[in-house]
Subunit: 305 residues, 2 copies
């Protein structure tokens, strides 16, 4: 928690995820002059908790009048503050209808952005649509594919300012859960072994069906040959990312590719893509999230005029 | 726990796994006349606990003299009673050197069977070697492949009474951990949907690299289309078993195939194999485990003569 402000915000931007909430005080010039980060995510809140939690986070920035608050992320899910639904693709990333939860404090005017859905294959995103909007506001001519690594990695085909199609891979969640809850938990380390990562990527790129056997080999290799924990962890990461790169080939092959994600994880995806001859641009999650909330707010104001 | 005996055993057979221990009182005719099952597996015991635990389980069957106890399974692992090592393949399934833990009770004479190891690709088994020995003692001419479904499913190539090679898949553990610890935990049910299982098998048999995306689609399908929890669980099982059947093809293609495992899980593997035109015989785990311990005990006695 680190709110640094004593000035009144023109409006407030909020990225409200499953585990955390981040808030930015936006000035009349459209830039943030203060921000905060809190461990009050959707997973820890009931619908009745959101208004007080929001006030705890942003009250120093409120004036006597009404302040607009633009929220993206899991606060708009069925388990969140109020369900903000999904806009079906193809669609502009943040063009869909906003949800407006009722508040008791008259100083608050809250908007929550909807997610995006795809009918076939069935898929959803919530939060990433705002990052995509931000990326497109910075790169308005971009036509190609955006990869958003994380717990649930998204591959998104973007054309003419719209999301055309997307696909979610639970690679990050598989990495965490296999390392924590299977027999491999005895073999995991904290460090990084690039050669082991690269070999893992190669192995599942060529024979993805062998995944469940290769996972056990990591354990057996440790038992019989004393392979290091760092090599085991890096190999696990490589095996899972390699399979994803193979599966996402129709997305990235011959396309402009951009990666939006945490720095370390993004570098692993970039490395695996490079091994297949694909070069990817990188963008900061923070920058594009703020830019996306700003774009959504501007659209709201333009429509109101 | 259900020990049913008042007679003295000729010798005692024990299958001592990670979570459970099963014991059989063997008569002079080589058949068991009583048995018990206990939730005192390797995971719950320190090395110093084994002798008292064993006495709790089998004391009613002990006479005044010395009784031989033949143990297979995780009691022989590094985290068990005493490490029984691994015999490198190719090898007879139970021909390797036995470990003999020291006991304070003079009525006990304990032997623990070693596992099997493979140098490349690195792999190990412990417990299954006894089931293989039992299967071969019942089917001495068998030449082909044995599939042992479970937490860690083994595919084993057997020829001329020896284990030639094998490969472990952590499919069962992936099923449990994905259903319990990822976003799919919100979608899991108890029932069975055969069509959803079959479609899952087909999908990963043809495109195994899509696993991480298809897992998220199960969740999205539930959110957008209200797919049933039973269908979601059966599809998850089908996706994972389908990938394993694809990977194990060099094992089962054109071979005699036998399946040793729990009844329900074995039927899923048999169904997936049948979809590929491969017919598999089935054998009961209980029968082959007892037969394997009996074969190991007979070998010990013959060598002692």
């Amino acid at each position: 928690m680190s709110v640094q402000a004593s000035t009144i915000a023109d409006w407030v931007a909020v990225d409200w995820g499953t585990s955390n909430a981040r808030v930015w005080a936006m000035g009349p010039d459209g830039r943030d002059f203060a921000h905060g980060a809190f461990d009050k995510g959707m997973g820890a809140l009931s619908p009745g908790d959101y208004e007080t939690t929001l006030l705890d986070m942003i009250e120093p920035w409120l004036g006597h009048g009404v302040t607009d608050v633009m929220i993206c992320g899991m606060a708009g899910s069925r388990q969140g503050w109020i369900e903000a639904g999904y806009a079906p693709v193809p669609a502009k990333p943040v063009g869909g209808g906003l949800a407006c939860p009722a508040t008791t404090d008259p100083r608050l005017n809250v908007y929550i952005l909807p997610g995006l859905s795809q009918a076939s294959p069935p898929d959803v995103m919530r939060g990433e649509e705002t990052q995509l909007a931000g990326f497109l506001s910075i790169n308005p001519k971009f036509d190609g594919v955006i990869c958003l690594p994380g717990t649930h990695c998204k591959w998104v085909h973007v054309s003419a300012g719209e999301v055309v199609s997307f696909r979610t891979f639970i690679t990050g969640e598989l990495f965490a859960t296999i390392g924590e809850h299977t027999v491999l938990r005895h073999s995991m380390g904290e460090g990084w072994d690039e050669a082991a990562f690269d070999a893992g990527v190669d192995d599942t790129l060529s024979r993805p069906e062998m995944l469940a056997a290769r996972l056990f080999s990591i354990r057996a290799d440790g038992l019989l040959n004393g392979t290091s924990a760092d090599a085991a962890t890096s190999r696990l990461s490589g095996l899972l990312i390699g399979a994803e790169i193979a599966a996402a080939k129709p997305y990235w092959l011959g396309q402009n590719v951009a990666i939006i994600g945490a720095s370390k994880l993004s570098s692993y995806y970039a490395r695996a893509l490079e091994s297949q001859g694909a070069l990817a641009l990188r963008a900061s999650v923070d920058d594009v999230t703020k830019a996306g909330l700003r774009a959504a707010y501007q659209t709201l104001k333009e429509n109101a005029e």
